[in-house]
């Protein structure tokens, strides 16, 4: 079966572009047409930048025609989660409070993708300020999972994951604080990677929890993931938390060979709360890796069960401070009528923020308050160190750790919205990696009821090459990447 342009991945499209068989404008039109056709149903996009995209595609074609040196992303249509600042294009964080905010500057990753010739087609939906696991916390609308529109796409980067899965973007960027790239990647059957903290600049990413936030790719294949990561990673003088070291080449790590790779399987990730069907698919993937020559061993990360409470103290604490700036004074939503400045602050914030954001601001404010700081925030920091040490020990013996990405299959819309803790549980397997600052990737390892199951690979800090190598070898052998999310809803 011949794939249409919007169905192809970066590597395939790059081939066609350099052979001058198609133009960037044709690819972009194909993706824009696809958006026109399906986004009414999927609702991946908050903003589609049609004119800007076509102009960027034309510029890419000119560079290609002039025979200028072009990278693999030149002329490739992509989407950005709407919490990355784009000069002149609204950046809403899917929040009422930033619904009218147009940044006067580009995020570093946006600059880098533009420099690489990628073509932005739009900004994607998310849980408000990236707080959520289903996009149901978006102030605008809920995105649908292209595999089954009755289910959620995951979150918070649900719009980016759904856009890639539905062919509405060839790749997308998401941000991950507690699993916000990997869990939607798992739900939508795409590849999603949260890099090591500090590999990708956060400048221009609207902060949720500064010590955890990291931008990463959502792609159709592991190769594409390596290509996008290469384009966005690297030192940035505007972000002091960005690592100063040069970035290694990622594509060259994709050898297809996992012989001798030491794979650890932490038992804690297969216990209570994990759907046996998910555990089964993941176990099958582990068996395949072993069959391919990897050395698989069971191991333990004893502090795993603390990741959720630690995360829900540290992330809200930072968020309570990061979100203080949305007060209606300089930009964003301001209440139409108020008695005085305090009243204006309170009304603007009460009316501008959604329920989950308010819940986390309250949680975080409480955790930092005098008298509670030591018991909650400081204690959480200490336990965070213990979680990190678990990983340090594990990575002295293993090259990668393998777990499920999400404990469950994509759940139905509305199923968990009334139960925040049940919603928090869907990040059970993804919370520890950002707490430890380590890289982690999710890719499809099977299907249950026609819904994708995600396999998570975690590695030591700056161990992206090894993770990509194992993921790529597995992907090529298992072949799930060939299956596309197309169903009855398209007719």
């Amino acid at each position: 079966m011949v794939k249409l342009l919007y169905q192809k991945n970066i590597a395939e499209l790059h081939e066609l572009l350099v052979r001058r068989e198609v133009s960037a404008v044709e690819i972009t039109r194909s993706v824009l047409d696809r958006i026109d056709r399906v986004d009414g149903k999927i609702k991946a996009y908050v903003t589609v930048t049609r004119e800007q995209a076509l102009a960027a595609a034309q510029a890419a074609d000119q560079r290609l025609a002039a025979g200028e040196a072009t990278g693999p992303l030149t002329g490739i249509p992509m989407a950005l989660k709407d919490n990355m600042c784009t000069r002149g294009v609204p950046t809403t964080c899917s929040s009422r409070i930033l619904a009218n905010f147009v940044p006067p500057y580009d995020a570093t990753v946006v600059e880098r993708l533009a420099g690489a010739g990628a073509v932005m087609v739009g900004k994607t939906n998310l849980d408000e300020f990236a707080m959520g696991s289903s996009t149901e916390n978006s102030a605008f609308f809920t995105t649908s999972n292209p595999w089954n529109p009755e289910t959620v796409p995951g979150g918070s980067s649900g719009g980016s994951a759904a856009a890639v899965a539905a062919g509405e973007a060839v790749f997308a960027l998401g941000s991950d604080t507690g699993g916000s790239i990997r869990q939607p990647a798992s739900f939508c059957g795409v590849v999603g990677m949260k890099p090591t903290y500090g590999l990708v600049s956060r400048y221009g990413l609207v902060a949720f929890a500064s010590s955890l936030d990291q931008i990463g790719p959502l792609t159709k294949t592991v190769t594409d993931c390596a290509l996008v990561l290469q384009a966005i990673a690297g030192p940035d003088e505007r972000d002091s938390t960005c690592a100063p070291d040069p970035v290694p080449a990622f594509a060259s790590a994709l050898t297809g060979d996992v012989r001798g790779i030491r794979v650890g399987v932490p038992g804690e990730y297969f216990g209570e709360g994990v759907d046996p069907r998910v555990a089964g698919a993941v176990q099958a993937a582990i068996d395949l890796l072993a069959a391919m020559g990897a050395e698989v061993e069971e191991t333990s990360l004893p502090h795993t069960s603390y990741a959720l409470p630690v995360y829900y103290l540290i992330a809200p604490a930072e968020a309570s401070s990061n979100l203080a700036r949305y007060d209606g004074v300089r930009y964003g939503y301001r209440t139409p009528a108020s008695d005085d400045v305090v009243d204006m602050f309170m009304k603007s914030r009460s009316e501008g923020f959604g329920a989950e954001v308010k819940r986390r601001i309250m949680l975080g404010t409480y955790a930092l308050s005098a008298g509670y700081y030591d018991a909650y925030y400081l204690k959480a920091l200490k336990v965070r160190t213990l979680i990190k040490r678990d990983f340090d020990r594990a990575f002295s013996r293993y090259d990668v750790l393998v777990t499920p990405t999400s404990p469950t299959l994509p759940f139905r819309k509305g199923e968990r919205t009334m139960d925040p803790v049940a919603m928090y549980m869907s990040d059970l397997c993804t919370l520890a990696a950002p707490l430890a600052g380590i890289p982690a990737l999710s890719l499809t390892c099977g299907f249950v009821d026609d819904l994708p199951v995600g396999l998570q690979l975690m590695g030591p800090p700056f161990g992206e090459r090894t993770i990509l190598r194992v993921a790529h070898a597995y992907e090529q052998k298992a072949g799930h990447w060939r299956r596309r999310a197309e169903g009855a809803w398209e007719q």
């Binding site: 930033l98 006067p104 500057y105 007060d327 925030y377």
Partner: protein, 483 residues
């Protein structure tokens, strides 16, 4: 018999650093400018921006810390101080909480001839806020305007130990601190312009008591004089409250310069919980000891050492040395002059006398004076050459001060130069001798005082421009010849 009280004061001084750019972004720190013209996405706290520390700020914090005899931390970090106020773009201030960059220094001050060492608890870095403009108070004004030009300007906060025991001592400490700040060159330390701000914690207790009394915090003191007045008032107020059997309320009070009183701003119950926590957007500072030593080597000569050098090497009096080194700018000016005209006493006298008088009258600082060291040296050379008399030089200096002209030019333009041309002088002398035959006869009969009269006549005829030494010599010669 009434109780005797002792006063306990600690000062918190904020200094605005004169770096070119702000502490966490590239925006300029220049004064003035249209409202909100010295801003960028970072200092406006737009979504998604990140702070990056200005290295110069860290360097100057260390420099000032060393000048104040502090220990420089090898590991330090920034923290967020959270509170809502519309002049703060992020609704938190990046400051330093439990690991400041400098700790445990001291400063020696002198009050009424008694020397005292005041401990310095800590010195830390933080960012300044913007400025609000409204009618009346922020809660009653129909609207407020915000100017973020100052938001993000680097500040150092210097916290003293509660070692200060009188308002006069507090003033001496603040003045000495300012002197050192200006000497290190990290700030111009102008209290009136707000580049140096002073808050005080004050309490009183019966003399000999071991426990500290309840303190109040005093703000809004915009000059050294205001500091001393406010503290004097507050100490008296507290004693009065206690004498009346009352209790001191722990609160923040503002000095009202017009009324000469402190007024309650807010009590402790309304105090903020700042919810400090480590700033996750910045990495901790690991200070290399070699860097600290390198900075120490660049520490300028402090005023005390400089004054001692003037006494020992230049032979100035202790008083003169003290006056000249009070301001770094004045001492620098003095040394610049000295390099061009190496007569320390003469230079010191001209600077401390006529030039200082003119500067004070004009409210000008010496480093902005139009009489540059080159020009002052030029004037002193004209005196040496006999072109102008000391008295005339004072007039010349006034013109130079007003116009910015060179001494020689002023002398020429105003025809002020002394008549040293002997031919011209002899003509005048001959006329004077001819007109005053009786006085000449008196001189010859031994009345030496008659010579003074004749000199006076010559000076009168030359409208004071004759060189007095030359007149004396030529008169004696003429009288000898005639006789």
């Amino acid at each position: 018999m009434s109780t005797e009280y002792e006063t306990v004061i600690g000062l918190e001084v904020h200094v605005e650093l004169k770096t070119k750019s702000k502490v966490f972004c590239h925006s300029t720190t220049e004064f003035g400018g249209d409202p909100n013209s010295h801003v960028c996405p970072v200092c406006l706290g737009l979504p998604g921006v990140l702070p990056v520390v200005n290295r110069q700020v860290v360097e100057w914090a260390i420099l000032l810390g060393l000048a104040l005899n502090c220990r420089i931390a090898s590991f330090s970090k920034f923290d967020r101080k959270n509170y809502y106020y519309p002049d703060m773009p992020k609704n938190y201030q990046i400051s330093q909480y439990d690991l400041p960059i400098c700790l445990g220094g001291h400063l020696d001050v002198e009050v009424d001839g008694t020397r005292k060492r005041i401990g310095i608890t800590r010195l830390h870095m933080e960012e300044d806020t913007g400025k609000l403009v409204h009618q009346g108070t922020i809660t009653t004004t129909p609207y407020s305007l915000v100017d973020y030009n100052r938001a993000g300007v680097p500040l150092l906060e210097i916290v003293s130990e509660p070692d200060i025991s009188s308002p006069a001592e507090a003033r001496a400490y603040a003045e000495k601190l300012r002197q050192i700040i200006v000497y290190t060159g990290v700030s111009d330390g102008r209290m009136e312009e707000g580049s140096l701000r002073c808050d005080a914690n004050v309490s009183v207790r019966p003399r000999g008591a071991t426990q500290l009394g309840t303190k109040t915090e005093i703000k809004n003191m915009n000059s050294f004089r205001a500091l001393q007045r406010a503290l004097t008032y507050e100490v008296e107020r507290q004693i009065e409250v206690l004498e009346d059997g009352g209790r001191i309320v722990q609160e923040t009070r503002a000095w009202d310069e017009g009324q000469g009183v402190t007024l309650s701003l807010r009590t402790k119950e309304e105090a903020h919980d700042y919810r400090y926590f480590p700033e996750p957007d910045l990495v901790p500072l690991v200070i290399d000891p070699a860097w600290v030593e390198e900075i120490r080597s660049r520490l300028p000569e402090m005023p005390g050492a400089r004054a001692a050098r003037y006494v020992e090497q230049l032979g100035l009096s202790a008083y003169d040395a003290g006056v000249l080194t009070a301001e770094k700018a004045l001492a620098d000016y003095f040394e610049d002059c000295l390099a061009l005209y190496p007569e320390a006493k003469a230079v010191a006298n001209w600077i401390m006398g006529d030039l200082s008088r003119l500067l004070n009258a004009a409210g000008q600082s010496v480093d902005r004076s139009r009489v540059t060291p080159e020009r002052l040296a030029g004037l002193l050379r004209l005196i040496d050459q006999g072109t102008v008399s000391g008295k005339m030089a004072k007039e010349v200096l006034e013109v130079m001060f007003a116009s910015g002209a060179e001494a020689a030019q002023v002398v020429k333009e105003r025809g002020l130069s002394q008549i040293s041309d002997e031919g011209a002088l002899l003509d005048v002398i001959r006329r004077v001798l001819a007109e005053n035959g009786k006085v000449v006869a008196d001189f010859r009969s031994g009345k030496d005082r008659a010579l003074g009269f004749l000199v006076g006549q010559v000076m009168k005829k030359t409208r004071g421009q004759a060189n007095p030494d030359a007149v004396n010599r030529l008169l004696r010669e003429a009288l000898r010849e005639q006789g």
